[in-house]
Each structure stands twice: as C-alpha cells, then as structure tokens.
C-alpha cells in the first residue's frame, strides 16, 4: 500500500541544510499497521510528513497504492488517499469551527453529497453523540477532540491513515479507548495505518510490524512477536523496549 525507496528528507537551505532522514526504505502492506519508533529527532515524523505531502523537500521514491507521488503538488484524488490524525487534539481542530463544521470540511472540499447525514454517521462511528456537532472544540475534552480528528480523517474514506502519536497528548485512561477505536475501525474498513510513536507499549499493542529509527536511519525492522519477546537485534531497539517496560 505504501512503498518507500531510499527516502531522504531535508530541512533548511544553503549551509544550514540538514538531512533529517538518510535513505529509508520500507514497505507497508494493505491492512497492516506499521509502527515507526524512535526518540525525538530520529526522523520518524519527517518520514510521515514526506508521505503526507506536508513536507516537500525530499528525494527518493514514494508509492501510494502502487502509484508514484512526487514532492510537488498533489491532485485531489491523491489527497483523498491518505489522511493524518495529529498528535495534539487541541491544535488539530479549528478553535472557531464547530465540531460538525470541522468534520464536514473535507466533504465540502471534495464536493461530496449528503454531508449532514455523513457527519452524523461519522460522529456515531467514533462514539460521540450527534448533538456534539454543534459544540466548539473548547466545549469538549481532549479524548473527545481526538475522536473528532479521527472522524474527520475518516470522512473521505481514505484507505490509509497516518497516525502521528495519536495518543501521546491524552490521559492514560483515554489512550486505550482511542487505540481500541482505531483498532476496530481498521478491521471494519480494512485500513492501512502508519503510526509514529515513541511509546513502545502503544506500538506493541497496535502494530503488526515496527521500524526503529535512530538519527535519520531505519536501523531495524521487527515483527510484533519479536518486539514482545524481546528478540531484537540492535542494542538501541532493546534499550527502547526496556525503557517502555520500565526495566532501564
């Protein structure tokens, strides 16, 4: 579903030009949840932003659903292929738009019919009561906002969701609810997830495969079983796993 070949991502210009991702190659199958883990600055978010088309200064090849996308502007159809769920639910929804308006926006942009009903269905699907569509973001909780973000990401029925630390800004008690919702949606709609996280526990719960990033390189790929049993090759990956388990 997503194939990345020798992706290099740059920031800055001239002598300040900095290579944040140094040649990452990976591929994600349809219906798979792939977790990218690593500490801040490891380049995992840069990979996600390059795939999403949010950051354009990159070289290499990215193929989404077997068609190649470049760093330049993407067509509407290409944009409808994937959506992001952002880390910070407070910053991801426009503070002056009602919940309903936020969810309806992608539908308006793509001129989909029956938007009122679609918004209702989406709210129901993410477990929010229908009256919530008239609320403003400051009138609902963080977990509820993240559900709104998810509903908005689902609106275009994109087959791929990019999850940028979707639970790290949430309470522990709310985290698992949101993760379970994502898990259910994935099975129900045959979605493909690319999840970026620094939390090994979340990744182990959600992902079929993981890639460990360090300093802009993808240093190891492992299956969920390997992660759970601790059968990892790189000492850095082990370190991350133990830190998550509280052993370090």
């Amino acid at each position: 579903m997503i194939e990345i070949d020798n992706l290099r991502v740059f920031y800055g210009a001239g002598s300040d030009r900095f290579e944040a991702v140094r040649g990452v190659t990976l591929s994600i199958r349809r219906g798979e949840t792939y977790g990218l883990v690593g500490e801040s600055g490891s380049g995992k978010s840069s990979v996600l932003n390059a795939i999403a088309g949010r950051h354009t200064d990159w070289t290499g090849h990215i193929r989404i659903n077997a068609s190649s996308v470049g760093p330049a502007r993407r067509s509407r159809a290409e944009k409808a292929m994937l959506q992001i769920v952002f880390q910070d639910p407070y910053g991801a929804i426009h503070p002056k738009h009602t919940v309903g308006a936020s969810i309806a926006e992608p539908l308006e942009i793509h001129r989909r019919p029956d938007r009122e009903k679609a918004v209702e269905r989406l709210l129901e699907r993410v477990g929010l009561p229908p009256q919530f569509r008239y609320r403003f973001p400051h009138q609902i909780s963080g977990g509820q906002r993240q559900r709104v973000s998810i509903a908005r990401a689902l609106a275009l029925e994109a087959p791929i969701l990019l999850l940028d630390e979707p639970t790290s800004a949430l309470d522990v008690s709310v985290q698992s609810e949101v993760l379970n919702l994502l898990q259910d949606l994935k099975e129900e709609r045959d979605l493909t997830y690319l999840m970026v996280s620094h939390d090994m526990a979340v990744v182990a719960h959600m992902c079929d495969r993981i890639g460990v990033m360090q300093g802009g390189d993808l240093i190891e790929e492992a299956s969920r079983e390997q992660l759970i049993s601790g059968n990892l090759e790189q000492p850095y990956s082990q370190e991350l796993r133990e830190a998550a388990l509280g052993l370090a």
Binding site: A52, G53, R54, R76, K79, A80, L82, Q83, I84, F86, Q87, D88, G91, A92, I93, H94, P95, K96, H97, T98, G100, S102, E105, P106, I109, H110, Q131, Y134, R135, F136, H138, Q139, R152, L156
Partner: protein
C-alpha cells in the same frame, strides 16, 4: 422574546446556557450571549458602548433631536449664548450649534464606517497574503507597509488630502490610506501563528485551496483582533477627520462636521466660547468612547482565551 426564537419549550435564558446544544443557531446564539455578558460585566466598556450607541441613535434620529434646521442662517441671531431657545448657542451665521452637532454625528459616523469598511478587508488581505504565501510577496508587501508606517499619520493624510483635493470622500480615502498598515501588520502576525498549525495543515491535506484557507480558517482567527484594532483606531480616525476639517481639507461648508465647526469658532474663542467647546467635547467624548469600547472588546475577543 421567546416567540422570536424556537427554544424547544425552554426559557430563553436556559436555552442560552444549556450545555446540550441542539442546533447550529443555538451554538451561535450562545457564543454571542456569553460574549455580550462578558462585555457587559465591565462598567468602563459599557460606558463606551452606551456613548457609541448614543452616537448611532443621534445620527439615525437627527431630524427628531435637532431643535432647528442646522443649515438655516439668521444673521440677526448670530453668536447668541446658550439659552433655552438655543441649548448650545448659535454660531457666527446664526445657526443653532446643538442642531449642527447632532447632524455632525452623521458625518462622524459616515467617516468612521467608511474607513472601517475600506480598511478591514484591504488590511486583512494584504497581511494574510504576505504571511501565508511568504517569500518575495511578503517582502514586497511588508516593505510597502513600512513606507506607509514611516510617516506620521496626520501628515500623510494631509498630503493625500491635499493631492486628492478637499471634500469628505477624499478625506475618507486619505484616512483609509494611513490606517491600513497596522491592520496589515496585525493580520500578518496572526497568519504567521496559525499558518503552521495542525488544523491548517489538515485542511491542506484534505485539498483546501489557498482562498478557502484564507476565508474559512484565517478570517475567523484574525477578525477579532482586527475589530479590536479598528475600534481603538476609531479615535484617531475621528481626530484626523476633525483635524482635516479644521484645516479646511475635510468636510466643506456648509456640511456640519465637528472639526470644521471647532475651526470656524476659533475666531470667536474669547467672545463665544460655545462655538469651539461643544464640538470639542463631542470629539473628545466619542473618541474616548471608541477607546473604552475597544478595550472591552479586546478583553472579550481575546483569541488566547477559549
């Protein structure tokens, strides 16, 4: 009141504070209601609001409030002191000062409204485009803004006014030309803070056009501070208009305009103090009211608050 709005059987107040919002109209009404309550909780802002409302009412009902025809001259009754017949006395041509003051509120309101309507969209568009698109466009637009900002606004307005010729429309244009740069700066600053926000990124990923982002995402964020800024600027607009009128470049006789009235009375300052005092007081009062209201609106519309 409840007859006007369908509140679903609730009293209007309950409907306005109910957390279980049932319609888009209710959501909007609640926003306005809470905003208004906040504004009314500050006595200073209420004072400003009352004076501004009084100005609007005076302009609307000028024929009812005026005791005389503001343009009828009667040289036999020139320079009369305030009395029960002429509440604020008469001017050098025997015109009733109170009536001219009331009609002058129309001129003042006309100028302030027109300047606002001209400046708000132009300032927003220039600032938002500079901030959102960036690059050379940003540099060009902001240097242009700097050039306008480099001149004291009254001097600039004087220059434009002199070039365009006297008259109230030209005065409005001249004032608008001096007022837009701070608005553009403000719009640019607000745009820069939200340009990289996740919600704008999300709209772009969904395929939103630049125009849509400007209109749907940036306008709601920039509008409150632009409104506040323009309200606070109203005082200087009124003063500049009065200044231009005073110098003979703004409103032309016989149109009643406070600045021009004060200027005309200057020659009789010793003998007929009421000619300059009352228009002066009106200018002071209205400028102050706009400032107070602006302060209140700033507290109410503060974007850094919920």
């Amino acid at each position: 009141m409840t007859g006007l709005i369908d509140t679903g059987g609730q009293s209007l107040h309950d409907w306005l504070i109910d957390e279980d919002i049932k319609s888009r109209r209710q959501a909007l009404a609640q926003r306005w209601y809470f905003g208004l309550r906040h504004l009314l909780s500050s006595p200073i802002a209420v004072l400003g609001l009352v004076i501004v409302v009084a100005l609007v009412l005076a302009a609307a009902f000028a024929p009812l409030l005026a005791t005389h025809n503001p343009y009828r001259q009667d040289l036999g009754r020139a320079l009369l002191a305030p009395s029960s017949a002429h509440w604020m006395g008469t001017d050098e041509l025997g015109r009733d000062v109170w009536s001219r003051l009331v009609y002058g509120s129309r001129t003042t309101l006309y100028i302030t409204m027109l300047v606002t309507v001209l400046v708000a969209p132009v300032g927003f568009l220039i600032g938002a485009l500079a901030g959102f698109i960036g690059g050379w466009l940003d540099t060009v637009l902001m240097r242009l803004t700097d050039i306008f900002l480099a001149f004291p606004s009254l001097v600039l307005a004087l220059a434009f006014s002199a070039a365009l010729g006297p008259g109230i429309e030209n005065a409005v244009l001249a004032i608008a030309l001096t007022i837009w740069p701070p608005v553009a700066r403000l719009a640019r600053a607000e745009t820069l803070t939200v340009r990289n926000s996740d919600y704008v990124a999300s709209a772009r990923l969904q395929g939103a056009s630049t125009l849509r982002i400007l209109w749907r995402h940036l306008v709601p964020v920039c509008l409150p501070s632009i409104i506040v800024r323009l309200t606070l600027n109203m005082a200087s607009v009124i003063l500049t208009a009065a200044g231009l009128g005073f110098l003979g470049l703004g409103a032309q006789p016989p149109l009643a305009e406070w600045g021009a009235m004060a200027a005309a009375g200057r020659q009789y300052l010793i003998d007929a103090w009421w000619l300059t005092t009352f228009p002066g007081l009106a200018i002071l009062l209205v400028s102050m009211a706009f400032n107070l209201l602006g302060d209140g609106l700033r507290d109410m519309l503060d974007p850094r608050k919920g």
